[in-house]
């Protein structure tokens, strides 16, 4: 990689999203975000309104049919999508910022870095769902437990990537050049090292969102996540499983949304990853 082909990071990300893969991912995630955002318009009755009959087959406008209490499954799925998107949309950036700060602290102070690395190793030792269950045990199952679980689950990856990125970039020639030219240390850090060192972190945000959605749905499926009557895609699958033999769409509908969301985010992270590693 020569200096000539390196554009400014921001335009590189935009270009990555304009590749076929990035475009498909962005479109998928965009449509799902819009659907979640406009859930009150698309389903004005709300997620908890009980209709005429329970476990009715799909028909307009309740395309996925109704659940055991006669509620529109599609409406609940849209509101569930809202829960999931809000959760990862808030938790993953928080995780990224905290993780990056930990990585930065580790980069600036070697002893502290080793100590933080050991702490993150302990977090990493917990399989994702065990971590989620432990946090749900302390905070009580619900939105906040999921939020904290997603933040903590992401920390080791963000911390490690940020520190590794900083260490690599600090060795690069352009940094030495800036030092020789007498550029102040903070300016080198903010203007030169950080923008490049954060590339892997940006990619990891998309990866972390997929992980966060899976963590939410896994915990909710076993009943330790979002509690009824609040909807989330995982919570819908939890109740849907019981009526799977009669109401296929109760599981298929939320599962489909979950798949599309995860696939879209994976495509975006792949596209970003390719742009960064070019």
């Amino acid at each position: 990689m020569t200096a000539l082909t390196t554009d400014r990071p921001r335009s590189r990300y935009l270009a990555a999203l304009r590749t076929p893969r990035g475009l498909t991912g962005t479109a998928l995630v965009g449509i799902l975000c819009l659907a979640a955002l406009f859930a009150p318009v698309l389903a004005p009755q709300g997620y908890d309104a009980q209709g005429s009959g329970s476990l009715q087959p799909g028909a307009w406008p309740a395309l996925f049919g109704t659940d055991e209490l006669g509620r529109d499954i599609l409406a609940r799925a849209l509101y569930g999508l809202r829960t999931d998107l809000a959760l990862v949309g808030l938790a993953v950036p928080v995780s990224a910022v905290v993780g990056t700060l930990l990585g930065l602290a580790g980069f600036l102070h070697r002893g502290l870095g080793t100590f933080l690395q050991r702490c993150l190793d302990v977090v990493l030792g917990f399989p994702s769902l065990i971590l989620g269950i432990s946090i749900a045990l302390v905070l009580g199952a619900g939105w906040w437990a999921l939020f904290v679980a997603i933040v903590v689950y992401g920390l080791p990856a963000f911390g490690r990537l940020a520190r590794a990125g900083l260490l690599t970039q600090a060795q690069r020639e352009y940094v030495h050049a800036a030092q020789v030219m007498g550029v102040p240390r903070t300016t080198i850090m903010v203007r030169h090292i950080l923008p490049h060192a954060l590339d892997p972190v940006i990619v990891q945000v998309a990866v972390g969102m997929v992980g966060g959605i899976f963590l939410e749905s896994s915990l909710s499926i076993v009943g330790l996540g979002i509690q009824p009557p609040e909807p989330s895609l995982g919570a819908l699958l939890n109740t849907g499983m019981r009526y799977m033999t009669t109401q296929h769409l109760y599981v298929l509908g939320p599962a489909l949304l979950l798949l599309l969301l995860a696939w879209g985010l994976t495509l975006i992270s792949d596209a970003l990853n390719e742009a960064v590693h070019r």
Binding site: R118, G125, F126, P127, I130, S217, S218, L224
Partner: protein, 316 residues
């Protein structure tokens, strides 16, 4: 090899010690008095006092921790609060189901993962490569429980060829048992296999550009020999590491897959004891999960050291 193992032991002990502290702290961090939570909200004061006494909650925290840790190390795990049975017995009852699932899924995962990687890393057929890329990216977007649910809908309900849930031990009746195991094991294995496949594939493509491959070709080895002896062998280290890393996630995935397929394994035990706040059981399960993941990681590093002399020699 022994020195390599010895060098890794302190960090293993560190992680285990830290997670034992965390597991011990969990019920004490939860809001409210653990004794009241365990005895129930309407329990008479004597019952609360009995629980407090049984847990040793009136002692200082360090001595409580040491008592508990001592119990864990000597195999005395205490008794479950909801059923009154010894925790060790509960675990032993459920372990077989989870071990069967995990072993079958791990085998499937390794075979499919390496298989996908080799197919995708083979440069001779672009069509195969594109197909493998598509399949693995679809599998990556579907976590075990989703694959499981879709499998149940397809093969358990729409075309009922396999049992949709429940279990029969492989030891009791291998033929029936395997029918109950196929869907959960496949569901658990597929996403992890895709992740392994991707890593192996990238590694194989990278190794193909190495000079030792050019040398092997120049020596007159057939393409198949070059692939087998030089490209595949050097890429297997990555495969082994990927399998080790994925085994931990596979165990975590087992918790949800057991719920989806109504299997009575350790995962279901973790969920039910968590829901009923059966702390002694949860604590041990958390510690067990971390310990298993840590041991798997060490084993992975041993395999890597055995496959790759650079790792082995660098360590001693």
């Amino acid at each position: 090899m022994l020195t390599f193992l010895l060098r890794r032991l302190p960090s293993l002990a560190g992680v285990l010690l830290a997670s034992s502290v965390i597991a011990f702290a969990l019920p004490r961090l939860a809001p409210g008095d653990p004794a009241v939570t365990i005895a129930g909200p309407d329990a008479p004061p004597e019952a609360v006092a009995a629980v407090r006494d049984a847990l040793g909650l009136d002692q200082s925290l360090p001595s409580q921790y040491l008592n508990w840790l001592g119990g864990v190390l000597t195999g005395d795990l205490g008794a479950s609060f909801t059923t009154g049975r010894p925790v060790a017995e509960l675990l032993a009852d459920r372990a077989a189901s989870t071990v069967e699932l995990a072993v079958v899924a791990a085998l499937l995962m390794s075979l499919l993962g390496i298989g996908l990687g080799v197919l995708g890393g083979n440069r001779r057929s672009p069509a195969v490569r594109a197909a493998v890329d598509g399949v693995s990216s679809a599998l990556l977007a579907a976590p075990p429980f989703l694959t499981g649910l879709l499998l149940v809908l397809a093969l358990g309900i729409a075309f009922p060829v396999l049992p949709a849930g429940g279990e029969v031990s492989l030891l009791d009746d291998p033929v029936i048992g395997i029918q109950y195991l196929i869907m959960p094991a496949v569901a658990l294995a597929l996403p992890q296999a895709a992740a392994i496949g991707r890593l192996v594939q990238t590694e194989m493509r990278r190794n193909r550009g190495e000079e030792f491959v050019d040398l092997a070709t120049a020596k007159g080895l057939s393409p198949a020999q070059v692939t087998r002896r030089h490209v595949l062998r050097t890429s297997l280290g990555t495969g082994a590491v990927a399998i080790g890393l994925r085994l931990g996630e596979l165990l975590a995935g087992a918790i949800v897959v057991e719920a989806v397929f109504a299997r009575n394994g350790l995962g279901t035990l973790a969920v039910t004891s968590m829901a009923s706040r059966d702390y002694l059981v949860v604590q041990v399960l958390v510690l067990l999960a971390v310990a298993v993941a840590a041991v798997i990681q060490i084993l992975t590093e041993l395999v890597l050291a055995w496959l790759d002399p650079r790792v082995r020699l660098g360590a001693s």
